[in-house]
């Protein structure tokens, strides 16, 4: 599959990550190279193979619905740059 620079711009937009023109160009080439490498997977027949999402045989685990001590508001907001009325403050959305 041929990767175009417009594909990278689209993916970066989904990932909410601004790229410079030079970065977009470099990443177009890198992704193309990586995907060529990935295409080896298509040589393997996997029609009747189940995917492995986790290596462990997992079971659902229940816990008691008990209130436990958590972080304080001060701790939660300590690393935020803008806080107002116990909320994280962000610029306008619309």
């Amino acid at each position: 599959m041929k990767i175009r620079e417009s594909d990278i711009t689209k993916i970066a937009n989904i990932a909410k990550m601004e790229l410079s023109a030079e970065e977009s160009k470099d990443l177009t080439q890198s992704l193309q190279e990586i995907l060529v490498h990935m295409d080896v997977l298509n040589q393997v027949e996997t029609k009747n193979v189940d995917p492995t999402i986790d290596v462990l045989p997992l079971k659902n685990v229940y816990r008691e619905d008990k209130v436990k001590e958590g972080l304080t508001k001060e701790q939660v907001f300590a690393n935020a740059s803008e806080v107002e009325n116990n909320c994280f403050k962000v610029p306008r959305i619309i």
Partner: protein, 488 residues
């Protein structure tokens, strides 16, 4: 008093118990070693000098009062800087978290703290664990203590170098595709990746949730067992931690006997390996046979597929996990007029090139058009790889292969080059299958350390400890010293 540097935790604990030394002496000597070598090495992002000295004094007081102390009490340690430590900066070697001070600690950090191990600092790594040389760190590369021109390996090169350079007695790193075994091999120390689920990952920033584990870096197998005793076990905070993984006392696995063990050497993993490293591996195999084990070549297919499978899964999971870095709740932030631009500028400027590449790849393989072609395909190939390993383990107790195909390369080669990525070929199968793996030093080649690797059955850590301990008791190849070379 002779130097305390380079001794193991159990050797030092003897001296502490006999009160021949104090924890304060021990910490002070390691802090001066850090001062002496850090300029050349850059193993640490943060050194916690003041806190370490205060803790050492408290432990000495406890000892004076005759309080019962744990085996790691007063022993200096380093933690990789992607393991959260409450009140101590945790950066993941990224601009994104350059000033981040976590409000809570990872379970493993908390367990070591309650065992009174003393944190000396946080180890440098490839940004968010993405890389194989520790050259992708926002804080600069970590050099190899055995040869300063060489890379320390990665992602967890900082903690590996710190243990090798006698700056810390042991350390914890994370291993998503070999990130602690490979730098352990390059730096000449032991690196152990436990079975997936054996050690809690709560509070650990690993890229890929279904692959990563936390594990010890130590100078010998006894220390490795001591650290595993302290950090392993079920944790309700980690939904993928396993209650049945509780192995009891790891020191009970330190048995000097490999008689009857069947070891397979996957021939595919000898291809592309430096002949001098193959010679070291053959020497290990010969020693094991001499000690009563059997070794034979076996076939482990899908070698070429393992790396691609690993890359797709780790990029996909990593891109999801890294979505939380948005500049709002914590971390680096670029001010903007609207929220969308804030996210984009923050992430565009906060992440380095390798992280961006991984996010782009991960987002691409998870996009609706490509999901089945790449991501679902990789999950299915993972099933085949796991089945191939399980089939081998029906007849063999463990597999023996090199930890790396070459010794550490020189610093300054492009860290994103294909050879650096290909290093993971030798280590990532253990992560894909979720099985335990041990990298043991085995002498030097071209003046740089060599690592030999053993992979075992899931939750059969005892076999790897038995092999490692037996080799260590019967050879002098596993404990490398700097001997005045490299940084010392």
């Amino acid at each position: 008093m002779s130097s305390l540097l380079g001794l193991t935790a159990h050797e030092l604990q003897e001296l502490l118990k006999k009160k021949e030394i104090s924890s304060e002496d021990l910490i002070k000597e390691h802090l001066s070693q850090i001062k002496k070598v850090e300029g050349a090495l850059n193993a640490f992002v943060t050194v916690t000098e003041k806190k370490a000295l205060q803790e050492a004094q408290k432990i000495d007081e406890k000892r004076c009062r005759g309080e019962e102390l744990s085996s790691l009490a007063g022993i200096p340690m380093a933690l990789s800087d992607n393991i959260l430590t409450a009140g101590v900066k945790t950066t993941c070697s990224s601009r994104m978290l350059a000033n981040f001070v976590p409000p809570y600690s990872a379970t493993v950090a908390e367990k070591l703290q309650s065992a009174d191990a003393v944190l000396l600092g946080k180890g440098n790594l490839d940004e968010f664990g993405l890389g194989a040389t520790t050259e992708n760190s926002y804080f600069g590369a970590t050099h190899n203590p055995h040869d300063l021109k060489a890379v320390s390996g990665g992602a967890c090169g900082g903690v590996s170098a710190a243990v090798a350079a006698e700056e810390a007695v042991f350390a914890l790193g994370t291993d998503t595709g070999g990130d602690l075994r490979q730098p352990a091999s390059f730096c000449g120390v032991i690196g152990f990746k436990p079975t997936f689920g054996a050690v809690s990952r709560y509070g650990v920033v690993t890229g890929a949730s279904s692959l990563g584990q936390v594990g010890p870096l130590t100078r010998d197998m006894t220390d490795c067992a001591w650290v595993m005793n302290a950090i392993s076990g079920y944790d309700p905070h980690d939904s993928l931690s396993v209650a049945s993984a509780d192995k009891g006392d790891y020191t009970s696995f330190l048995v000097n006997d490999v008689k009857g063990l069947k070891i397979g050497i996957p021939q595919e993993y000898l291809q592309g390996v430096d002949p001098e490293i193959i010679a070291q591996l053959r020497e290990t195999a010969a020693k094991l046979v001499e000690l009563g084990a059997s070794c034979e070549e076996v076939s482990l297919p899908y070698r070429e597929l393992a790396l691609s499978t690993y890359q797709i899964i780790s990029a996909a999971e990593g891109s999801s996990n890294l979505a939380c870095f948005d500049g709002v709740r914590y971390g680096f932030k670029v001010e903007a007029e609207d929220l969308d631009t804030l996210y984009k500028k923050t992430r565009g400027q906060g992440f380095g090139p390798e992280v961006k590449k991984s996010i782009i790849l991960g987002t691409y393989v998870l996009s609706s058009e490509q999901y089945e072609v790449y991501y679902l395909k990789a999950l299915k190939v993972r099933t085949l790889l796991k089945a191939a390993m399980e089939k081998l383990f029906q007849n063999y107790d463990c597999l023996l292969l090199p930890s790396t195909p070459t010794v550490a390369s020189n610093l300054g080669d492009n860290p994103a080059r294909a050879e650096a990525r290909d290093l993971k070929i030798w280590t990532c199968p253990a992560n894909l299958a979720g099985i335990p793996a041990l990298s043991l030093p085995w002498g030097m080649v071209k003046g740089r350390p060599v690592g030999i690797q053993f992979m075992g059955k899931a939750f059969a850590e005892e076999t790897l400890f038995r092999i490692g301990f037996t080799l260590e008791q019967n050879t002098n190849q596993t404990r490398l010293s700097l001997n005045g070379k490299g940084v010392c």
